[in-house]
């Protein structure tokens, strides 16, 4: 159901459910149970049920949820049904990769234009315009853009963020590996590869250490 406040952890799990539901084959049953979802995604069934209860109320015993309406409920909750316009700053490799990613449509995200300090082209491969960064805040204001995607080097990120805020932006998707200082009403979502790498790296280290210990043990025997 709607209207409740939702925790960030739940929020982050919802896209997972959505992706799984949307990728189910056409000839799959019309209904799906929270139990089945949980098993498929390797999670606890109670957690799945609780999460789904936050966004939908279509669950029926013995039947489960109607797949179609569950998808709609999640999408509506996540706001994927109405599009949000965004700008992207930093037309380097990563920036271009994001500009070219078709999947954003599904999430209701529409990148209007790219900005760069030294624009190498007038339009991207996809036909989106590339402007000089000096025009950033004005563009945001006139087009009422609410979201900025930062793919510039770390050194330039804060400066870009400041200009975005001048332009009236409310949310920033930050791919630069640096901390951004912003007013409290602006949301910064950090897509920081370094954090992921840290998790992986530490896991691997532990793994290697473990293997070494096993080998040493075997050597002693």
């Amino acid at each position: 159901m709607e209207g409740k406040r939702i925790s960030k952890s739940v929020l982050k799990r919802l896209p997972g459910y959505l992706a799984y539901l949307k990728n189910m084959p056409e000839d799959a049953p019309v209904n799906i149970s929270a139990t089945a979802l949980a098993n498929a995604l390797g999670m606890g069934e109670v957690q799945v049920r609780k999460d789904l209860a936050m966004v939908s109320d279509g669950g029926r015993p013995k039947i489960g949820y109607q797949r179609e309406s569950l998808i709609e409920d999640i999408e509506q909750f996540l706001g994927y049904d109405n599009t949000t316009d965004a700008v992207l700053i930093g037309a380097g490799k990563l920036g271009q990769a994001l500009m070219g990613y078709k999947g954003f449509d599904e999430y209701g995200l529409n990148i209007l234009a790219a900005f760069d300090e030294k624009p190498q082209m007038e339009k991207t491969e996809e036909g989106k315009p590339v402007y000089h960064i000096s025009k950033l805040s004005a563009f945001c204001r006139t087009h009422k853009v609410l979201m900025g995607i930062i793919t510039v080097p770390a050194e330039a990120a804060q400066q870009v963020a400041d200009q975005l805020i001048v332009g009236g932006i409310k949310a920033i998707w930050n791919f630069a590996p640096t901390h951004l200082d912003v007013p409290s009403n602006i949301l910064v979502q950090n897509e920081n590869m370094a954090t992921s790498l840290a998790v992986l790296s530490v896991h691997l280290q532990a793994q290697i250490k473990e293997e070494k210990e096993i080998k040493e043990k075997e050597g002693k025997l």
Copy 2:
């Protein structure tokens, strides 16, 4: 200090500290206090202190931490001091962007080669070889690669993961927007843009709703 078990949340914050410390100007003071770090990054000072205590023991009252040795401690803890080899599968735009990212050296990550279902070139711009995907598991075995980076479309991801595991990989960095089924000793770190987008989207929706309500109120006055 070392040897303790560390929680994932702490782990994810460490790269933030590290990046900030490394970006400090040469002429900055030799020492830095947990308090100063906390203020700079907009966090609670107690949390920062606790996190640092997990990886270092160089904190001294009134002085703080020695910047250089703190950096070393964090890097050592994260395993950035010895390199880990990796392979990348999916030489599309995102894959190429990652291959070209110089910053990975700093994290001790070395991408040996790329694999693709239909290799478009023999070598990447950076001179790394691009092989057909059929050679994946053999390559991993012979080079004792422990980490795989998946940048293929969602449909192909599970299949690639399976082959990686056959090749003896221990950790997977998954950029495909899908759930991967793997044995419990394999770590999957999902770099899922969809989750970030969800957080942003819901925030923006709330923001828009709020603004609308304010306007309606003003209209009534």
